[in-house]
Symmetry: D2
Subunit: 339 residues, 4 copies
């Protein structure tokens, strides 16, 4: 008898997250019960009793959880944690709550580097000027151009995305300072970056990547004062969530010419037609496209299969990220409703 | 008595290529005679006899050369070799002809990567759409998006620029194939790239960088047939000189949707207002700005000082690139007239 | 009032694991109660109630544990887990059991590489011959010499030590195959190594590092058959624990000339004077010295302080390794009784 | 008609330097005339007139050279340059003098690292003690042990061998200082090492590699004063030639306990039986075995074929190292007479 997987991966779907060969492997190895957020609790009790895994992030009551006596893990493929299940009980019972957000690290980092190089070299503006016949040739067009190579780079938040950024930046031989209060300094040093406090990363960066998840502690922590402390001409790149930044203060800092900036995330998505960033000079806009590549979604399925295989063998899941007792309640990055 | 340097660095100037401290060092170490292309031959014969170095690429006659009995090197800071001096005699006498084009390798590579990421992720087009209120959010905007990470990359020409590209690409763990008939395959392998013939690099690349200098052998060698052989959807990035490519064939290949492309160089610079690439869809335009950064020009001065110091000590110049007897006459990349 | 740390780090001591500045920091931040394995349970109940951390691996009864109502972590600085505390209760309560064995990864890896190079080039034997006047000069002495560069290397077990080995091996551009059934293959691939099964790593390695911890599943799993399957002339390097290997079978394989080998660990330590490896030709002996460097011990203190600081702030310990519910009972590497 | 290669590669032989497939390629592409140092000048004049390449380092007179009107290169596969041909004429005519010593860089670097790890961890001495039953277990045996990781390393001479050392050292994250007066500092910086003067590299190194070739300028330049200036406990590793060191001063520095050392090269080879290094404590001996691996010799053939192919096509040889007009007369590393 195959272990049961209760599947409710919305807004993802099994087709989105599994390549056909992996989808086949899933069904060969497990009894997959496709259900929904609402229907999960109404499944036959024998099915709940036999369930080893939940794929998705459906609401779970204490009662339903108590029925799932063999549950080993909730595999949340949306990947932002919401407060819709009794985490305390899950942790006591040793049921892993796993997220697959790491799949977005590489695509977001690549877009982030592309945006940084666009700010450094004025790629978008030069192309527009060229289309309009107002381009400037050679050095004349490079008054504001600068190199990433050998420059001072700051990274705020050093999870999977911060690490992916560092990896694709290493060929530039930069000095990288990192602010991440959830990590011990020595781990950052081992990764070849300089652990630093928030003020230092704000004031000593030519280019500043903000990739911190939203938590109960850090909403709007990059505020007007923070922007003011940045170097004149700092290139500011926001890749995680708009909520960590005072967005209006950022707009002011760009408009005043103090910094140049780019963002993949916005306070509202979609953004109103009359929002001031739409025609903000010195700002490059990306409509929350950094992570949502098909290949990224398909890695979710790969990760889920690898970790279920380990847990099937009585081992610890290693591929997905585990929600932690200490921090699960602090997470505030909003789930997406659209892939 | 200080060794004499005859300086005629046009279109560069001493101010452009020396930071103030290095300019000071230059004058402290050498007697710098500022002259021009035309005036060089008219300098007092004692001055010519004492000259150790020429800084620039002035025309030199056999007669003038014969007078410069202590000449050790011509340091060409424009860096494209033109046929205006008796190279054969220079080589026989062991006078080095040195170029400083390596200073452009890093800035051009950085822009090249920025353009590649723009093609891969549609950065410029997405920003434009966003300004116009027609942006597509999340995965909807990523239909053509793809990763550089883990992809197959081709590089045509593996001089300083090709090497600089490889260095900043290594964090992406790509497969890199290189075509460079002037280099032994084993040297390419040692650098972690796959030596290959022209056809393989054309047909097996997701992204193709053309960074070959123009020579008597390779004008327009990327022709209609070459574009046809490229993978459907290939991203084509031209960074060296327009002359290595059949530009019209490239435009056709982009227009037909077979490839997407970008170029920093054009058949005429500046380009006529009605040139078809100005509104070519699937094409990103950069007005020959890849290398012309102040910091690059200033490295020319650094390189010149380092190599003159070695030659002052009776040693071999190592920093600049030497023109070679076998190939000096084959070089066809046009000098710039504007920095 | 400072949080209480109950300290019973035997066989380590506070002096061994804390540099003086860190020792000072420890006492400034915490109330350190120095106790012993036996005395812990007899401490005043108010002290137990106030204890936030235990430093060491003393036996803990359910009763004592119940009294330690504020306990956040047991920081085991010996680092091999023994079954002397109610792990199930610790995990239910979310009390971390942390080990600091990662400090040994780098020193063990360095010795491991030194031993591998000794096998590859016959360093020890050549020095001995030279002392005796029987050395062979030049290529005559290199009949069995070989390169690590570009060779095929196997690693059995890919924890901190396996990763440290890969890091110092990367300059050799080797092909590295890894067998570690506790890790998902994609994580190994991301690290640039080839995940493989046990048979492949045994049969396809020029040099084979065994760095797996002893578990209930793998005692003596490198047995006579495994040695027979290795390549003729394989260099076998044992760095973790003698128990994972059938030591007699290894000796036979060396004696027969099938492999050459080296080990830092032995079935008995100290080893009897008449043990056959003492004069085994083709074998290099290291008396369990790979990890025990002062600098390694001092990093234990650093790690402990960093993780306590995170836990003091309500965060998750990241520096030490956590014992896991699934695997804590499987660990069989014997603790050392001597530093 | 195939181009003629005059072959006199002593002490190498064609069998030593060509794998069978490459040997076949050689004969398919070229007319190989096997001759000797003495017989070369007596070859039929038509043969000399047709010769494109000389493989080896035979004595060449001006007269013979004048007859070889098509000569493109002398490919010296012994690789130490001796003063037995009219270099000035060769350079005037643009005939390349090429050496293949780069093949030894990797094997010498690997042995060098092995010796450095032996000094750092006492591998040879511990194995000897273990054989004798006097081994010390665990930390007791590590009183003098230290890590290469994170340490300060000096390299004297930064040719192919210095670069190869840096490559295999990079996984150790060391600080590397380099002294090489023939190289511009900026090239060293680009390679990630710190350019420095001789005094700094002597006084600031925990481990010091001497890999400089002997020149007219540097004989015995590591003298008693230099050894005195080294850090107490410095590990000194000599890999190039004994002549760059005052060997007696080195022995004194080891004997006094000021440094520990190892060498692959000696003032006389073979070394007299009563030479004091034979029983010098704190010294590891290697009988000039560092480079002489079959695989290294076979790369000579590969290099020669690659460069001849380039020259056949009218291009510049890139794979071998060119003798230079400025420095060819300064070289003093003695050729070997035995492979």
């Amino acid at each position: 008898m195959k272990p049961i997987v209760l599947s409710a991966p919305m807004p993802r779907s099994l087709d989105l997250i599994f390549r056909s060969d992996k989808r086949k492997q899933l069904h060969e190895t497990y009894e997959v019960v496709e259900t929904t957020d609402d229907a999960l609790a109404t499944l036959p009790i024998e099915m709940l009793q036999q369930a080893h895994y939940i794929l998705g992030q459906p609401p779970i009551s204490e009662t339903t959880l108590a029925q799932m006596v063999q549950l080993k893990a909730v595999l949340n493929v949306e990947s932002n944690l919401i407060n819709n299940m009794p985490y305390q009980t899950l942790f006591e019972r040793g049921i892993h709550v796993l997220t697959t957000g790491a799949v977005f690290a590489k695509p977001v980092a690549e877009l982030g580097l592309g945006l940084a190089l666009d700010l450094a070299r004025g790629i978008t503006d030069a192309d527009l000027a060229f289309r309009n016949g107002t381009e400037q040739w050679g050095g004349d067009g490079n008054v504001n151009a600068r190199m990433l190579g050998g420059s001072e780079i700051g990274i705020v938040g050093y999870g999977d995305l911060g690490r992916a950024l560092r990896r694709i930046l290493r060929g530039f031989d930069p000095t990288i300072r990192v602010y991440d209060p959830w990590l011990p300094p020595s781990m950052l040093k081992e990764d070849g970056v300089i652990p630093t406090d928030l003020n230092a990363v704000l004031t000593q960066s030519d280019t500043l990547f903000v990739v911190a998840a939203v938590t109960s502690d850090n909403q709007h922590f990059i505020d007007a004062k923070a922007f003011k402390n940045m170097r004149q001409g700092c290139h500011f790149i926001l890749l995680s969530r708009a909520e960590v930044v005072d967005f209006d203060a950022m707009i002011d800092a760009v408009r005043s010419g103090h910094i140049r900036a780019t963002s993949d995330v916005f306070p509202q998505e979609p953004l109103p037609m009359d929002h001031p960033v739409r025609d903000l000079k010195g700002f490059i806009r990306s409509p929350h496209r950094a992570g949502a590549l098909d290949t990224a979604f398909q890695q979710m399925g790969d990760m889920v299969l690898e970790d279920m295989a380990l847990m099937d063998g009585g081992l610890v899941p290693m591929r997905c990220k585990r929600a932690e007792r200490e921090t699960v309640q602090r997470m505030r990055s909003k789930p997406v409703t659209h892939n």
